[in-house]
C-alpha cells in the first residue's frame, strides 16, 4: 500500500459517512493546501462516483462542508464529494493577501502566467490533475471512489471554475452544474481584475480560454444538461458580476442550445443559505449523469 500524500487533520462522522479534513504539500502549487473529502456510507459496499465542488471567493474547504449541505444529499444518493481549497496557502507573495477577490482564496481555477503568481497559482492543473489523482490513489479512501465517474459543481468563482473546466475538457467530467457562477468573467469586474493579475492585461486570448461564455461556442463533446441556479436578490448578480444570461445567449446555435437550464429565483442571495436551498437539485443533477439512477 502506498503512503498517503495527505495529513488527515480530522475524520468527522456525518450523515452516516465520513468527512476527511486534509492538508498536503502540492508539487504543482509548491505550497501547502487543504482539501476535504466526503465519503458516503455506500462506499462500504461499492465504488461510488465523485462530485468535485469548487468554492467561491474567500472560502476554504470548510465553508461549503459546513454550510452547503451538499453532503446530506450525497450521503443519500451514494456520491463522494471532493471540496478543494480556493488557492495555495502559506505563501507570502507580494500583495497576495491584500484583496479578498484576488490572490489568496481567489485562485480562479487558472494557471497564472504572470509573476509573482506563475510559480504557484496553478489551480487549473491542481484541480484537473493533481488533486483527483492523489485522492483516487489514497490508501485510506481512494479505492472506494470511482475516478472514471466524476462531475463538477461550484459556487460563484467556483461556478466559473466548474463551467470552464467542464468545457475545456470534453468527456472528462460526466456533468456540470453551478450556483451563481461568474459566467462571463472577461466582462465582469471580478474577472477582469483576476485575469489582468494572473494573465496580464494584453493576453486576451488566454482570458477567453477561461471564460465559459467564450468557450461554449467552440465546445464539442457530450452535452449533458447544464444546471445553473441564481438568486434574483443576489447583489453580485445585480451588479453584473455573474452574467449567466450571456452564457445562455452564447449557447444559441451551438450543441448546447436549449440545454443550459438557467433558473432565476426570487429573493435568494449569494450566500450558503442559497446554495444549501438548492443543493439537493445539484446533487440529483450529478447523480443522474454519474449513476444513471432516476432520482424522481
Amino acid at each position: 500500500m502506498s503512503s498517503s500524500a495527505f495529513t488527515i487533520n480530522a475524520v468527522v462522522t456525518t450523515f452516516g459517512g465520513k468527512l476527511y479534513k486534509l492538508t498536503h504539500t502540492s508539487p504543482t502549487l509548491k505550497a501547502s493546501i487543504d482539501a476535504n473529502v466526503f465519503v458516503p456510507p455506500q462506499a462500504a459496499n461499492e465504488k461510488v462516483p465523485v462530485l468535485i465542488y469548487l468554492s467561491g471567493l474567500t472560502c476554504t474547504p470548510q465553508n461549503a462542508s459546513e454550510k452547503g449541505f451538499l453532503h446530506a444529499w450525497a450521503a443519500h444518493y451514494g456520491l463522494a464529494i471532493i471540496f478543494p481549497d480556493t488557492s495555495p496557502r502559506g505563501l507570502e507573495l507580494p500583495g497576495e493577501h491584500d484583496s479578498w477577490d484576488f490572490g489568496s482564496a481567489a485562485g480562479f481555477y487558472v494557471n497564472a502566467t504572470q509573476e509573482p503568481w506563475a510559480g504557484h497559482y496553478k489551480m487549473y492543473d491542481y484541480i484537473t490533475e493533481e488533486l483527483p489523482e492523489l485522492v483516487f490513489t489514497d490508501p485510506e479512501f481512494g479505492s472506494k471512489l470511482d475516478g472514471s465517474r466524476v462531475s463538477l459543481s461550484g459556487h460563484s468563482m467556483g461556478g466559473h471554475g466548474a463551467l470552464t473546466l467542464f468545457l475545456k475538457n470534453p468527456g472528462k467530467y460526466k456533468s456540470v452544474s453551478a450556483f451563481a457562477p461568474i459566467s462571463n468573467p472577461i466582462n465582469a469586474p471580478w474577472g477582469v481584475k483576476a485575469f489582468t493579475g494572473y494573465f496580464g492585461e494584453d493576453n486576451k486570448d488566454l482570458w477567453k480560454q477561461h471564460d465559459a461564455t467564450e468557450l461554449i461556442g467552440n465546445y464539442s463533446g457530450p452535452t449533458p444538461d447544464i444546471l445553473i441556479d441564481v438568486g434574483k436578490g443576489d447583489g453580485f448578480y445585480q451588479q453584473k458580476q455573474l452574467l449567466p444570461e450571456n452564457l445562455v445567449e452564447a449557447s444559441k446555435g451551438t450543441s448546447y442550445e436549449g440545454k443550459v437550464n438557467l433558473r432565476l429565483h426570487d429573493g435568494y442571495d449569494h450566500s450558503y443559505y442559497f446554495v444549501s436551498s438548492f443543493a439537493k437539485d445539484h446533487i440529483e443533477h450529478a447523480v443522474k449523469y454519474l449513476s444513471g439512477k432516476s432520482v424522481l
Copy 2:
C-alpha cells in the same frame, strides 16, 4: 399595528421561507441580544407551529441557523423556528468574557441570583416569557405563528435548557428533544461551574431546580416521548459532561419511564456535523406533537 421590538438586520430567503436576523434591547436582560426567526413558506397560508431551538456554549443564533440545517426540514413540514441567543450581549460585567463556558454565550437558561449576574443573566425568564411574546406579537411575522403550539429542542447547553424548561413548565410546550444535552449539570464540571457562579455554591436546592435528572422525578404533566441523540465519539460525552444515562435512570418509576428515547450513535462528535445529521429526526419529532401529522 404595533411597532416591532426588533431591529431587522437581514431577511434571508432560504428553502422557500424567510430567516429574520434580529436584534433587540431586552427589558428582562437590561441588555441587547440577538435572535433569528425562521418562517416557513406554509406561513403564507396558515398559522404555523413553532420550535424554539436553544444553542450551546459559545454560540450565537447564527451558528445553528447556518450549520444545523433544522430549517431545511422545518420548511418541508411547515414549522417556524426561533433561534435565541445564548446570553445577554454588549455588557461588560467583571469577568463576563473570561471563560468560554461561563458568562457571555453561556447563560445556561437560568435566572442568576448572584452578583454581578443577577441583574442581567435572566435567560430563563427571557426564553420562557419575553422572547416568545415579542415574536408572537411582532407586526412583521408574529401573526403567521401559532403561539399555542410550541415545542423545544436544543444542543449541549441548549439541550439542558430545552429539557429543564420543558420539565419545569408542564403542558406549556408540546414536546422536547435534545442533541447531546447536559442532562445532569449538578454532577458535571460545566454545570457545577455555571451554577456556582450564577446561584452560589451553597444554594443546592436552586441547582436541582435546573437539572433535568433532578426534575424528571417530580414532573407531572403530559408525557410526549423525549428524543435524545448523543454521539459516542463526542469528547464531552466521554468526559461525562453530558450524562444522558443519568436522566434515563432517573425516569424509571416515573411517568416518563420508557419514554426517554436515548439514542447513542457510533462515531459522531459534538459538532454541527452531528446536529445536522439528525436534524430531520428532531424536526419530525416536534411536528408529530405540534401538528398531529404523520411523518412516516
